[in-house]
Every structure is written in structure tokens, then in C-alpha cells.
């Protein structure tokens, strides 16, 4: 393993986050705070408890997941797309670096940034609502697993994209709607039966449900199913990345 290369890429990726701290950290924290003000305080004060949890506290796991998904995809897709766009990817492709090392470095960097952001949002949320985490280990496990999975997904988008428009396409048109419809702000049990069934085809439901379970011990779907679905999505992303590197898809052709 060329760990020095992994470290070199990882360090540059982390340095970029700290160089753009306003965009990377401050902006999502402000957005999340606004969600708490609008949904938690203004609207939430008129909504009764859900599953015995105050509405303000109920939306915390969903809000963290919302940022975790979008930021993981955005960080990883931009990290690999930008060198492709400016042409500096030649250096990565000509270096004695294996595919695994490239993925570890880029996905590791993107996931680290997202996890840090998730924890900052958690800390911000604790200023607005009283928080109690019943299963801290599983909370961290879901956090890490989701960040890694969606960073891998972002990495795939970054390699696939041929323009900045395409880079934004999947996060804007697919991920954000799925996240909003995935139970961030409500329990899917509140939906009519038909829509509840439809929602079960949304993979984000399982992520948010499992993550919420780690906080409050309550979930829309079984935690085992949530974990299983996350692992399945991770496996699909790993398989696609392996195929990309084996064929050189949009990298070496």
C-alpha cells in the first residue's frame, strides 16, 4: 500500500475544507439552525409529540442525515471532478497509486468532512432542543456508514459527470427530494397507507429511521432492515467503483 499517497491526497482534501470553512462548515450550520427556528420552534410548537418525542427533537436525526447525505455527495463528487475539469488528474493517474488507495483517500476525506459537519450540527441542535442519545455506538456507526456510502456515491457521480450541470443533477433532482420525502420532518406512519408503501421504496427512509432509532429507540422500520439496506447500498457503490476502475470508465479512455 502506498500510504504516503493516501495521506497526501487526504491532507489536501481536508486542507480544502478548512480553506473554504464558510462554505464547508458555517453555511450548513446556519441552514440547520434556520430549520430549527422554522420547523422546530415556529411550526413545531403547534405540532404534538411524535412517538412520545417533541417535534423539535424528532427532526434532529433527519436534519443531520439531510446534511450528511448532501455534503458527502457534494464533497466527494467535487473532489474528483475538479481535477478532471482542470486537467490535474493526469498526476493522479500517472502516480504509483492503486484504485483502492485513490478511493480510500478521496472517500475518506469526503466522509471525514461530512462526519465532522454532522457532529457540529448535532452540537448546534443541542442548543435548541434537549437531546438524549440512547445508542451512541449505533449513532456513530450509522453516521460513519452513511457518510462513507454516500461519499462513494458522490465519487461515482464525480467520475460520471462531464459538466458542472451534471455534477449538480443527481444531488438536486434525486437526493434532495428523496431526503425530504424520507421522513426527515415526519414519521412515515403519519402518511396514508398508499403513500407509506410508496415511501418504503425510498432508501433514505431506512437511513433516517435507523439513525433516529439510535437517538430515541423508536423507528419507522426495523433497525435491522435499516442497517441491511445501508450495507446493500454501500455494496452497490463499491461494485460500481470497482467496475469504473477496472474499465477506466471516463478516466483512462
Amino acid at each position: 500500500m502506498n500510504w504516503r499517497a493516501v495521506w497526501a491526497i487526504y491532507r489536501v482534501e481536508m486542507a480544502r475544507a478548512f480553506r473554504t470553512v464558510l462554505q464547508s462548515i458555517v453555511s450548513p450550520v446556519i441552514s440547520t439552525s434556520l430549520y430549527f427556528v422554522v420547523f422546530g420552534s415556529a411550526i413545531g410548537s403547534r405540532i404534538t409529540e411524535i412517538d412520545g418525542i417533541s417535534y423539535g427533537a424528532f427532526i434532529v436525526p433527519g436534519l443531520i442525515m439531510l446534511s450528511l447525505l448532501t455534503q458527502s455527495i457534494s464533497n466527494a463528487s467535487f473532489a474528483i471532478y475538479f481535477p478532471k475539469f482542470v486537467g490535474s488528474i493526469y498526476e493522479l493517474l500517472s502516480a504509483p497509486v492503486s484504485y483502492l488507495e485513490i478511493v480510500i483517500a478521496y472517500v475518506g476525506g469526503a466522509a471525514t468532512k461530512s462526519i465532522i459537519l454532522g457532529l457540529i450540527i448535532l452540537a448546534t441542535a443541542s442548543l435548541f432542543v434537549p437531546l438524549h442519545i440512547q445508542h451512541p455506538f449505533w449513532m456513530l456507526a450509522f453516521l460513519v456508514l452513511t457518510a462513507v456510502t454516500f461519499s462513494l456515491f458522490g465519487f461515482i457521480i464525480g467520475i460520471w459527470a462531464k459538466s458542472f450541470e451534471q455534477l449538480q443533477l443527481v444531488p438536486l433532482l434525486i437526493i434532495t427530494p428523496l431526503t425530504f420525502l424520507g421522513g426527515s420532518f415526519y414519521s412515515i406512519n403519519m402518511l396514508p397507507e398508499v403513500w407509506r408503501t410508496v415511501t418504503l421504496f425510498n432508501p433514505v427512509v431506512y437511513l433516517i429511521s435507523g439513525f433516529r432509532w439510535s437517538f430515541y429507540g423508536k423507528s419507522d422500520v426495523s433497525v435491522g432492515v435499516s442497517l441491511g439496506m445501508t450495507v446493500v447500498f454501500l455494496a452497490i457503490c463499491i461494485a460500481i467503483v470497482a467496475w469504473i476502475f477496472r474499465t477506466g470508465y471516463r478516466l483512462r479512455n
Partner: protein, 313 residues
């Protein structure tokens, strides 16, 4: 398996590249680069120079054929092969927001080398970049960016350096500096492969020259042989009275007569001890063939190059 006795540091055998569009960028390339030489790869735009370099460096997958670098196959043993190579691409492609120091150290790390601030400092000083080590790449001039690309390529102490159009768009002073730097590297044992469409660059630098056109290598020769061709000159004689044919007495000079019979051309080797110019002029005078003006022309490498390309189907 590493070979220390082979004179070839790069062996390219039967390499082809066909893009997904069906375009054949390279057709059966066979080429050996000798250890420690400066090899110039000449060719017009779109001839396949950059594709060939990109394949050797691992940036583009080849369709078929094999390439070894110091005995290491670029596919099976890519780590050993790539760690020997430094590449300076044609385009100025640098992360604009990184500092000179950061980006050069990043390149060194990427190639698996332990940090060595002293060596990186030496590289930057050699390239007159030390004063700019804390400057972001975006603030550098075009010439400095080019130097930075070279610094990145040299940061991991490569034994083979590819320079793809290194002096495209750079001023005369920087061009001279680069040539001097390339010679220093060669003196240190680094093998240099440069692609260029500036013929004078190949003349000034190369030990050997290869010409590629339409994805095929059409010539590989040492510079000494090419200089021999460069040494050929033409003597042009404007005749006072047109001739209908060259007299048989001059057949040994292989003179060429222009269609209108007013100009005689004598092609000779000016590096020869007896080029025959003086004897030709004496014999012309003796034969009462008078001329009103004369001129000489060099046959340049550029002419040879252009003629080679014209001969291609």
C-alpha cells in the same frame, strides 16, 4: 523483473490505441528509448505524440501491445514502472488554489516518497521558484506555472522525464533556461523524452529523433545522421543563357535544371572535405556556361520532416 544491462530504459512493442469512437490514434508502435538519452518525438498536431506518452505514463489505457519501463511492465508492475517516471504535460494543469510548496510536496507524496524538504527546496531553487514557494499557483505567470509543472514532475526524483511540448508558448529566455535544465538532468543520468513540433528544439537538444505521423513511427535516427542530412546544401546558379539540357560532361555532379532552363541546382554535402563547388564552377567556366547570380540554401530538418510527412500516404 528489473534489467540493469539493457540499453533501453523504455521498450514499446506493438502498441495500438483505438478510441471508443473508432479513431485509431496509434497503429502498432515499436520504439526503444535508450538509457540516459534525450529523445525528441516530432510530429504534427494530432499525430499521436500525447497519446503515446499518456499510455507509457498510465493515463490512457492501450488497446494492445506491451510497454516496459526499466524492465517493469506498465500494467502488471505499474507501481515500479510509474515511480520511475516524471511527466510534464502540455497543458498548464495545476490546482490554482494550492501554494507552490504544498503542491510540489503533494506530488512527492503521491509517488510514495518520504518528505524531504531539502530536496524540494533544491528543485525549487534550480527552477527559480524558491521566492514563490508560498505563492498560490493562480498568482504565477505562465512561465512560472510551466516551471512549477516541471518541479512537480521532478519532486519524486524520476529516472525518466517526459516533457510534452515543454516550450509551447514560452518566451525565448525561459526556453533557453529549460534547455539548460534538461541538459543538466541528462548529465545526472535522467532519460528525457520530449515531444515538440519546434524542429529547432529537437536540433538543439536531442541525441535521437523520432517522427510520428498518423499514429505511426515513420523515422527514428540519431541526431548525427540527421545533421548529416542537415549538412546538405544547394548551390543555385542563375544562367545568363538558358540551357535545353545539362551537358553530359557534368553528369557526375547530378545537376538539376529548372523547367525554363535558366537555373542549375547542385546539391552537395558541405561537411565533406571536397564538396565539389570549386571544381564545378571551374568546369562551367571552361564549358562557357556563364551565370549572372548564385545563391546557397541549407536543407533544414524542417524540410526533411515536411518531406517525410508528404511521402506518407
Amino acid at each position: 523483473m528489473s534489467s540493469t544491462i539493457s540499453p533501453s530504459i523504455i521498450a514499446i512493442s506493438g502498441v495500438t490505441k483505438t478510441y471508443a469512437t473508432g479513431f485509431k490514434a496509434l497503429k502498432e508502435i515499436n520504439l526503444d528509448i535508450e538509457r540516459g538519452e534525450i529523445f525528441a518525438l516530432l510530429g504534427p498536431n494530432g499525430a499521436g505524440k500525447t497519446t503515446l506518452i499518456s499510455i507509457v505514463c498510465g493515463i490512457v489505457n492501450r488497446s494492445s501491445g506491451t510497454v516496459t519501463v526499466d524492465g517493469h511492465d506498465i500494467g502488471k508492475d505499474y507501481r515500479a514502472a510509474r515511480s520511475l517516471i516524471g511527466l510534464v504535460p502540455q497543458e498548464l494543469t495545476i490546482d490554482a488554489f494550492e501554494t507552490v510548496w504544498t503542491t510540489v510536496n503533494y506530488s512527492r507524496g503521491l509517488f510514495g516518497k518520504a518528505p524531504n524538504p531539502g530536496f524540494v527546496e533544491k528543485v525549487l531553487r534550480d527552477l527559480s521558484l524558491w521566492d514563490k514557494k508560498d505563492a498560490k499557483a493562480i498568482t504565477l505567470s505562465g512561465g512560472m506555472k510551466r516551471r512549477l509543472m516541471i518541479a512537480k514532475a521532478l519532486s519524486h526524483e524520476p529516472r525518466v522525464l517526459f516533457l510534452d511540448e515543454p516550450t509551447a508558448g514560452v518566451d525565448v529566455e525561459l526556453r533557453q533556461d529549460m534547455w539548460a535544465m534538461v541538459r543538466r538532468l541528462r548529465d545526472d543520468g535522467v532519460t528525457i523524452i520530449l515531444t515538440t513540433h519546434y524542429i529547432e528544439e529537437a536540433e538543439a537538444m536531442a541525441d535521437r529523433v523520432g517522427v510520428i505521423n498518423k499514429g505511426e513511427i515513420i523515422l527514428v535516427e540519431g541526431k548525427a545522421e540527421l545533421m548529416h542530412k542537415l549538412g546538405r546544401k544547394r548551390l543555385l546558379l542563375e544562367l545568363r543563357t538558358p540551357l535545353t539540357a545539362v551537358p553530359d560532361a557534368f553528369s557526375r555532379y547530378k545537376l538539376e535544371l529548372s523547367p525554363d532552363g535558366t537555373q542549375l541546382t547542385y546539391t552537395y554535402d558541405n561537411q565533406s572535405e571536397r564538396p565539389g563547388v570549386a571544381s564545378l564552377l571551374r568546369e562551367l567556366e571552361a564549358a562557357c556556361i556563364q551565370f549572372r547570380d548564385m545563391d546557397t540554401q541549407n536543407s533544414s530538418l524542417e524540410e526533411i520532416f515536411v518531406n517525410l510527412l508528404r511521402q506518407e500516404p
